[in-house]
């Protein structure tokens, strides 16, 4: 924990090697969150790059009361949520984008078939709850960390997660039992 805070201090001084180290430590987990939120591998990489760049540029604003991972996830989810907004308005404008077209877009981050139902069911979960689920399950973040990352109360985190999971259970149940 403290080692990582030291790493952030080095990054704040413009230390490129420390930055590379940080990016390597967190790159995989950040990519997993972004990939699951954005669907496409290319968009996920783009989001992680932007988040890391913002982290590098804004490292001097880093407050050591924050865990480095929480700080990074805050920056990354801010980037991803904005990308989701852009996508929503773009889809509304572009009448040609059918569900099939959207599936094709996310094709390069295609989930294995076993997760296809879950992937679709997640699409029915409201955005904020989906973001929380991704953070919760990629890195096992605590309710407190989730609250900090999204700027909400712990009670809201709990109710959002519960609601998201209830919706998932309902959707998965609806799709019928018996798939592999």
């Amino acid at each position: 924990m403290d080692a990582e805070r030291g790493l952030m201090r080095k990054v704040a001084r413009g230390d490129q090697a420390a930055f590379t180290d940080l990016a390597q430590r967190y790159g995989g987990r950040l990519l997993a969150v972004a990939g699951r939120l954005l669907g496409s591998r290319a968009d996920a990489e783009d989001a992680v790059q932007r988040a890391l760049l913002q982290c590098f540029a804004g490292a001097s604003a880093y407050d050591s009361r924050w865990a480095v991972s929480t700080w990074l996830y805050r920056i990354l989810t801010n980037v991803c949520v904005d990308e989701l907004r852009r996508r929503a308005t773009r889809t509304a404008y572009d009448a040609r984008s059918t569900p099939e077209a959207l599936e094709a877009v996310s094709g390069n981050h295609r989930p294995p078939d076993a997760y296809l139902d879950l992937h679709r069911a997640l699409g029915r979960v409201p955005r904020e709850a989906r973001v929380l689920l991704a953070l919760r399950y990629v890195d096992g973040l605590s309710y407190g960390e989730l609250a900090r990352i999204r700027g909400i109360s712990i009670n809201t985190v709990k109710s959002q997660l519960a609601r998201g999971k209830a919706l998932l259970r309902e959707e998965l149940g609806k799709r019928g039992a018996g798939h592999e």
Binding site: F19, A23, G27, G28, L30, V48, R74, R85, P126, T156
Partner: protein
């Protein structure tokens, strides 16, 4: 494995199954190699937009900003008009730094001919960070085939930047021409792609449009981006009464 979930099973067992499924689904892959290096390579030293800003000249009437151009010297104006140009400069400054997603300063298009004004009003409807083809504008002005005339009208936009003619692109995906040059259009498009539109303050639980006066003094670690006002409301934020982000 068989995923049959029958009603007789305990709630706890169901939860465990969903938890396991979610954990497997979200498991990170081991594919981050090289990412850090790529990121380091992207750090840019592009000064295109700063150069543009330093050359901007603005004119205003008491009703609003009437001209944004480069290089010329501005006409002397009334005190009200000077105040407006100052405000516009400030807003453009923030916009070009990714700290503003809307303009508040009024525009004065009263000298603009009717067809051109309709073209400009249509361009004004394009949301921040997005683009529409010239034909989209033509349709909205009631002359769907007047695509070329639309291009000309946009090219003579008296108040570029403030009125987003840079959000009108060619239908083949190319960005097309721009009053300040294609390179600037390219930079503006990239800039709007990375500037968020809605941000909430974690200490006040208020969601604002980026650039609202309330957001100006927000600490960086208090900023949370939202995709919509509905999303923000769903987790306990309320929209700002000054910038009115619901609109």
């Amino acid at each position: 494995m068989n995923d049959v979930v029958n009603g007789a099973q305990e709630q706890g067992a169901k939860q465990d199954k969903l938890d396991r499924l979610l954990a497997d689904y979200f498991r990170p892959g081991a594919e981050s190699a090289g990412l850090a290096l790529k990121v380091a390579a992207v750090v840019r030293t592009d000064r295109e937009l700063e150069r543009l800003e330093s050359r901007l000249v603005l004119e205003a009437t008491p009703r609003g900003i009437s001209l944004v151009r480069t290089g010329k010297t501005a006409r002397s104006a009334t005190a009200t008009a000077r105040k407006l140009t100052e405000q516009a400069r400030e807003e453009i400054h923030e916009y070009l730094r990714g700290q503003r997603s809307f303009f508040h300063v009024p525009l004065d298009l009263s000298e603009v001919p009717d067809f051109q004004r309709r073209v400009l009003e249509a361009a004004r409807l394009i949301p921040f960070g997005e683009g529409r083809p010239y034909a989209w504008i033509a349709e909205r002005t009631g002359h769907p085939r007047a695509v070329r005339a639309v291009g000309t009208a946009l090219g003579r936009n008296p108040v570029p930047l403030l009125l987003p003619c840079h959000r009108v692109w060619r239908s083949d995906g190319g960005l097309g021409e721009y009053i300040f040059g294609a390179r600037v259009k390219d930079r503006l498009t990239a800039l709007e792609r990375i500037t968020p539109v809605l941000e909430g303050c974690t200490s006040t639980r208020i969601v604002c449009r980026v650039g609202c006066i309330h957001g100006r003094h927000m600490r960086p670690d208090n900023r949370v981006v939202f995709a919509s006002v509905t999303d923000a409301r769903s987790v306990g934020y309320r929209p700002c009464k000054v910038c009115r982000p619901a609109a």
